[in-house]
């Protein structure tokens, strides 16, 4: 049995989620657009699932557009306007790629990965229409001060009205990594658009959503039969959306207890590793960080070798984000927070989740300490 410490890359489908999805594979397989009663029931259950999701984030079901995952959702958000956009320097590749289709500013972050709201303010131009800041970073776990950025946006909007500048200014956040650990209520976050991904909270892959406030003028990217209020066509993923509703509801319900539990395990693991290797570098904001995230660098070591060494010991960890992992490139996040190459290249991302218990982190600590020691001896560090 492996010890899986890469929950930020993928999560197994929860039993309750799969159980909720099962009926929609074969028994209730109907097209929700068909007119007869069994299909109308499927439609109703699909809409009920959306309402359940909407309740978790405090919005109306009609403000949710279901998508095939977070990446599509982010692309849809970035398609809602044209002009200048602002993102943080440590955004996920999907945000970087979507932003690259616009004139954009990448705002630098502090060494702990935090965005300074004042830097956002300085970057805003008269033609800036979108600011997209991930709620929590997928590599180092730093949580961003979204509500403070939202305050600034509110001020700028008021100034624009006074000046007669009709350019809208939206705040979007990819909250995929925060689901199940952070409050996702959009009013409290202060966002106009929010991206969520079922696959990060023990739901199915390729199921996600974009919340967009009514003020946002979305442009459909995928046109056709007019599903999702015409904003995203295609026969609905009934099983997937019903699965996402269960996954998100469950994750949100158990959130407070899970954050305490994961934070405790993570802190123990961090303390043990730092105790063994005082030279190790912990990245991410130590106060405002995802409870399950531990990003640790062993300067001078080769993280890829560590990943494979740990794998032979049954411990599965990541070198960086899973997306960038098999491309052999250095993480832009680690460069942005100012890690030198020797430190960045020796970085492991350990992310804990539902299946992680005390025994798992205890054993993981032993294995990591042994493996890092072995590698240090090998390279003479």
């Amino acid at each position: 049995m492996n010890i899986y410490l890469d929950y930020a890359a993928a999560t197994p489908l929860d039993d309750n989620v799969l159980a909720a999805m099962q009926p929609y594979f074969a028994a209730s397989f109907y097209n929700p657009s068909s007119p007869y009663a069994p299909a109308v029931t499927v439609r109703r259950e699909y809409e009920a699932a959306k309402a359940q999701i909407a309740a978790v984030i405090g919005v109306r079901p009609g403000e949710l557009i279901m998508t095939a995952g977070a990446t599509e959702s982010i692309n849809l958000a970035f398609g809602a306007g044209s002009g200048h956009v602002i993102i943080a320097d440590i955004e996920h590749q999907s945000v970087l790629a979507a932003a690259s289709r616009h004139e954009h500013t990448r705002v630098a972050v502090s060494p702990n990965g935090g965005v300074n709201p004042d830097d956002i303010k300085k970057a805003i131009r008269p033609d800036t229409w979108l600011i997209s800041i991930g709620l929590a970073n997928n590599e180092i776990g730093t949580i961003q001060p979204l509500s403070r950025i939202a305050e600034i946006i509110k001020q700028v909007r008021a100034e624009r009205i006074a000046e007669g500048n009709t350019t809208p200014l939206y705040l979007h956040s990819d909250a995929s990594q925060g689901a199940g650990q952070l409050d996702l209520h959009v009013t409290r976050l202060g966002v106009d658009m929010l991206t969520l991904n079922a696959a990060k909270v023990y739901g199915p892959k390729q199921v996600g959503l974009l919340y967009a406030a009514r003020s946002v003028k979305l442009q459909p990217q995928i046109v056709g039969g007019g599903q999702e209020a015409g904003l995203r066509s295609g026969t609905e993923n009934v099983a997937g959306v019903i699965g996402m509703a269960v996954a998100l509801t469950q994750a949100d319900k158990g959130r407070h207890a899970e954050v305490v539990r994961l934070g405790d395990l993570r802190n123990q693991l961090q303390a043990k590793l730092l105790d063994a290797f005082p030279e190790a570098v912990i990245s991410g904001n130590q106060k405002h960080r995802l409870a399950g995230h531990l990003h640790i660098s062993f300067p001078g070591l080769d993280a890829e070798r560590l990943v494979f060494g740990l794998e032979t010991r049954g411990v599965l960890v990541a070198t960086g984000s899973a997306c960038a992992a098999n491309k052999g490139t250095r993480s832009h996040v680690l460069t942005a927070i100012g890690l030198d190459d020797a430190t960045a290249d020796g970085s492991l991302r350990l992310t804990l989740g539902k299946g992680t218990d005390q025994a798992a982190t205890d054993q993981a600590a032993v294995h990591i300490i042994e493996e890092v020691s072995r590698e240090k001896a090998r390279v003479g560090a």
Copy 2:
């Protein structure tokens, strides 16, 4: 137990498909981009599934872009260029909507729903870059002469080369409705791009693909982590694609026998209904029609009333395409083939599938004859 005769709208997940998908929900849930062996195995199995699908349609796996269903696939195809496009007047709404983003010509069809290749030829302009013709119509089942259209395209390409016109000319086909009943080998079809949908062949919803020949210059619609060779980002739907591979392989394997079986049942049903109602109108090409399709109109009756009447008898049928069904609009397909309003409004689409047996069609015939007779008596027809 209902008698389901709406297989063109949705199909239940096949047991073997679900069995093949199950391991990837929880046991093998890894992100295919992660570096450790269990994830690499998932990557390999995902690629093997693509290779299996590629073999069915006679292409290389690298020429397949997995999408969240047919609609996304069609949108991706229509995004591969700019200029004039040609479609048939009876295309699915997703093709109509995608075409509406370009200057386009809708070529008229014959009363049996067939596209005349000569009409396509006449519609081609020097700036035409795409011709998109569905392999088989989802409402009336007519199969189009794609290979003859491909021949014309070949000639035009040769002429363009001679003239120094460098505009490419691609043939795209949405073959979603043909899978499991028709040969999908792209060389024999003569297409440059092909759209398929798992949900129409007892596979999962929101799983589809676009085949594109290497000569086609696709533009990614969804950008991000660079999955699907950069043409469609987002963590892969491992379970879904593995399910599609099983679904498509099975459907193709049993195709010849199933076409004979369904054609026989459909012809019996058609004969019984025509025998009872000689005034009924059968639409679609009687020779070149999907074996499971029966489109029948009862002039002067209200198809929606028939659908609900039949539903109370346990027979589930459609009035038109499922997508248009609950919008209360008249089908553009029926208008295009020249049905007058009184005939179009009395149309049922009966589509047979794997679960349809002799008993089902026998009983369906009895119920339809009773219900149509009752409605005829009611309106005094």
